[in-house]
């Protein structure tokens, strides 16, 4: 399995929900200082439901494709559901195996979205796992 699957490249080339919102209820932006990738998410929310969202930024195929896929996934969902999304959900959407470095790319959009949904302290992929 190759990380440059057609599906990833399609999203990279023609991302869904790319852009910004005029008057977002929630807007959050974050970068990965190691590679400079940067994603911003703008959300319009009604009764906790995400009615509209846009992302923008720059980055590698993985971080942009992940952002695009994620926006498709969460549109129409409740913020509480967004808060439940984890690393594995994001990897399922991407459908490719990611090495430790690219994992950070793959999770950047999710991090931004969750940080938007509520304050987040650390990277989703880096939540300190228990040793057991």
């Amino acid at each position: 399995m190759n990380i440059y699957e057609e599906d990833i490249l399609d999203h990279y080339e023609n991302p869904s929900n790319y852009g910004t919102l005029e008057d977002p209820d929630i807007s959050y932006e974050e970068d990965n200082p190691l590679c400079g990738d940067q994603i911003r998410m703008d959300l319009q929310v009604e009764d906790g439901i995400i009615t509209k969202l846009r992302f923008c930024g720059h980055g590698c195929t993985i971080s942009l494709a992940a952002a695009s896929m994620l926006t498709e996934e969460v549109k129409g969902k409740h913020l509480d559901e967004v808060k439940q999304l984890n690393k594995d959900d994001m990897l399922d959407m991407l459908g490719i195996p990611l090495g430790p470095v690219r994992l950070k790319c793959g999770l950047l959009a999710l991090k931004v979205l969750k940080a938007g949904a509520y304050g987040l302290k650390c990277w989703p992929g880096e939540e300190d796992e228990e040793t057991e």
């Binding site: 200082p33 090495g99 430790p100 880096e126 300190d128 040793t131």
Partner: protein
Amino acid sequence: MYAQPMNNSLNPLDSEAIRNDFSILKGESDLPLIYLDSAATSQTPDCVIEAMDAYYRTYNSNIHRGIYRISEEATAKHEEARQRIGRFINARRPSQIIFTRNTTESINLVAYSWGSANLREGDEILVTVMEHHSNLLPWQLLSQRTGAKLRFIEITDEGVLQLDGLDELLTERTKIVAMTHVSNVLGTVNPVQELIAAAHDVGAKVLIDGAQSVPHFNVDVQGLDCDFLAFSGHKMCGPTGIGILYGKSDLLEEMPPFLGGGSMIRSVQRESSTYADVPAKFEAGTPAIAEAIGLAAAVDYLNKVGLEAIFVHEQELLEYAHQKLNEIEDITIYGPKPRQKTGAITFNLEGIHPHDLAGVLDTVGVAVRAGHHCAQPLMQKYGVIATVRASFYLYNKLEEIDTLHDGLLKAQRMLTRRRR
């Protein structure tokens, strides 16, 4: 203390089978190697050597930030090693495991980073008289930098900590207690759990020097509730060049960096920088990658044999060693009896220099250590300059103690004539 009670229905350890795991113990030299110096460094089982070879021969590459197969494999194996080592001491999170070169560097890291940030003139650092220089010098240097005062817990003639009057030593002025879990000279197992609780009662942090405990019995950092634990790979069947510092997360997070360089940063500007989260913050530069992987293999090996079985086996060796060595005339054995200690027996023979004992023992293939064992304050307490130490590990056999015994008699025959 150590994981008690021992499960006596435990399968005894098969030291013959174990010896087969160590190439060095199968060597074909004229004299067999009777290695009784594991407290200095342990022997390395073949599986550990092979784990490192596999790194070098199949996926050698720098970790973190490498976007290609072997670098991803090396990164994954390195971080998996952190996990396995963390689990071995029951750390809650892998990020509490910081890779260093050895116990010495682990302790210095705390003395520089935590120490310089937290100690002031008037504060006190409490250590014991039985510390290895590696758990004394960093605090002496810190005390010179900060003006904090070093205080000492004395030991009794039997070689156990003198805890009456602890109230005098352990006070609100005490900011950190740095003590060894097990004495590298006497084998004494210290009541660290009680001391940690007492230290926390006065608001002091506790660093445990686990160099001689982690290899020999189950050390549970959450059970002990220690703030820091330091130990070395090379004393627990692992390679040289790797040690561990365990720390409580909140402490590690608020500590300033120690060494600056690659990998410990989040972002660098010309004049200043922000730092990475733990553990990366304390791991500047290319780490000892092969060695971390080797240490994880050692931990797996010790788990496979079983720490409890190792402990029971060592107790058996110790009891026998005490019994045999006590038969020798003019011997002085330092420290407590078996059951209150682990791993080592330290002694002198009247009128024979420890160097000569070690030298004569070498002629019969027995490797022991003679000297101050990096514990001069302890030697001063006993009024000696040096002692001989025989120390045991999972691969030693009772018969080897017979050879030790006979070698000592040989030394007496050779050297105790009519010297003044």
